[in-house]
Amino acid sequence: MKKRKFDYGPYLYLLPAFIIIFVFRLIPIVLSFIVSFFEWTVTGAGAFIGLENYAIMIKDHEFWQSLLNTFYLVIFVVPVSLFLSLLFAVLLNSIKALKSFFRSVYFVPTVTSLVAISIVWKIIFNQQTGLANFALEKIGLEPLGWLAESRGIFQLIFANFGIDLPSWAGGPSLALFSIIIMTIWKGLGYNTIIYLAGLQNIPISYYEAADIDGAGKIKQFFKLTWHLISPTTFYVLMMTTITTFQVFSQIYLMTGPPVGGPLGTTKVIVYFLFDKGFGESNNLSYASAIALVLFVIILSLTLLQKRLEKKVHY
């Protein structure tokens, strides 16, 4: 028998995709480390500065504020989005008539562009001509400052009872909270669809057995559905967290000028790195360092997911 020659075929088929991924993914990721260790502007590389950017970052008040704002965003968006999307999905899964109609209605925000939607929500939250204040007025409430309000939501709530909360306990500003509302709204349809797919994977026989045992619908949900859906919950939790860490467009479009909201209370980490890299200072080196910190955060979340995933799978 003739000895088979080395088969180049598979590599030729992989080559086009490989070149693109190598040049435009792998190289930039390696490059981001290098850039963060040098002085770097649009004109090119400067002196080697080692870990200086990271030292600056630790002392940078703006960095910590943007991290805190991002944290607020995640803490509010993720649980509410999970709860609502599971509720939607369970409701949708329990009906037959108009099921696909409702599913499509919930899904429209997912396919529409974040830019257009941000513009619409910015106008909704406009103090004079927005729908939000118009609705408040109709039900007899005072208009709010929404995207222009730098005071924290807890601060605003407690102020109604005459309690003056210190600003560190004020929570996210109402401006950031407006962004939170919009972000939840935008992501709800996608999460609902993922949940719905998860629910449809639960064998119907389980429910039939539960019916025979005489378990009510609510008991069925907590004793059966909630446990069987936990891998999906886990996936939705991680995905929503990771994407919420990367929120940019709605901040860029809805708050400002100056972007970043009143007193910088809507400045999130990705906007911060955008501003450092492409704003006035044009400090690509510092921006790269910030991006790497974001990368470490998201990577640890992903690794945590991988570790915990084994525990939630039955």
Partner: protein, 325 residues
């Protein structure tokens, strides 16, 4: 129908309204005159209340500034709501308060020509179509290799690809800019298209599909003298039509809606894609809410129409992004 069903439908409708109201309000605001919006008439009704001034068979829209005795100081506006005279003194008897149902469709054409949206649309269509075409070619070739061939380093390359997929865009944005700048591609179509013509998720999706095709089919074709590429072209791709269109739609939507990348990688107005153009327009015309709403409406329209045509497939393709190995 029992009580449970009624509550279920009630909640579903309520949630549905929350999802739809922003769009509905966008539509109703987009056909309002700016004057009406600025007056605080920002509900859903397109009925306008305004004062007109009539004299000698001519009609002007007015806003009353101050009443003095039996006459008033008013601003006069023409049909297009352009002010033609300010602080004119007119007799009160010629001022009429009227209600009118009027839709200002001209907002759409006004917004469309105010900045070159036509150009933005063409740019977006060109970029999105090129990206989808590229993604399909590189994706099906790579997926074919991963799914049907055995070669050294196969697992390593596959996991390398998958791990690249985990890296979020903001992380490689800055160095990508540095790289593209070095290549001289910043502010060119290359920057918008080339880095995106390979998509790891598409490779992954197609690989899963190609693996389901029975090996016997390949063996039979090989015996008939079919080469690898002919097998891909004549057998594998035709059998994978639905997954391919799913991936194509997914890629198209992603490319159409991408914003941060083109915002950073392009600068000159003639290269602006729709999302970037819309974003600049929203800064330029920040006080003209009805024009902004009109622009938002026509820029989401193509995708909403695409969605209405292919709802099932689009929802399925998004759901499959949540698939696990």
């Amino acid at each position: 129908m029992n009580a449970g069903k009624i509550i279920t439908y009630f909640l579903l409708i309520l949630c549905g309204l929350v999802m739809v109201i922003p769009f509905f309000w966008m539509l109703t605001t987009s056909v309002k005159s700016q004057l009406e919006v600025n007056k605080g008439n920002v509900g859903f009704s397109p009925v306008e209340e305004y004062d007109v001034y009539r004299e000698d068979g001519k009609e002007y829209y007015i806003t009353v500034v101050k009443e003095v005795g039996d006459s008033s100081y008013v601003h006069l506006f023409n049909e297009e709501m352009k002010m033609i005279r300010s602080y004119a003194k007119v007799a009160n008897q010629n001022i009429h308060h009227e209600k009118k149902f009027k839709l200002h469709w001209e907002n759409f054409s006004n917004a469309f020509v105010k900045v070159p949206f036509g150009r933005y649309f063409l740019n977006t269509i060109f970029v999105s179509c090129s990206v989808v075409l590229g993604v399909m070619i590189t994706g099906s070739l790579a997926a074919y290799a991963f799914a049907t061939m055995k070669f050294k380093g196969q697992n390593f390359l596959f996991y390398l690809f998958i791990s690249m997929m985990m890296v979020p865009q903001p992380v490689y944005l800055i160095p990508s800019y540095v790289l593209l700048n070095h290549l001289g591609w910043v502010d060119t179509y290359y920057a918008l298209i080339i880095p995106w013509i390979a998509n790891i998720f598409t490779i992954f999706l197609l690989r899963q599909q190609f693996k389901t095709i029975p090996r016997d089919l390949f063996d039979a074709a090989e015996i008939d003298g079919c080469g690898r590429f002919r097998i891909l072209w004549k057998i594998v791709l035709p059998l994978s039509k639905s997954v391919i269109s799913t991936a194509a739609i997914f890629g198209f939507i992603g490319s159409w809606n991408s914003f941060m990348w083109p915002l950073i990688m392009t600068d000159s107005p003639k290269l602006r894609v729709l999302q970037v153009g819309l974003s600049y327009f929203s800064q330029e015309a920040s006080t003209q809410t009805s024009l902004l709403m009109a622009a938002s409406t026509f820029s989401i329209l193509p995708l909403v129409v695409l969605f209405l045509i292919a709802q099932k497939q689009i929802i399925a393709s998004f759901a499959s992004s949540g698939l696990k190995e």
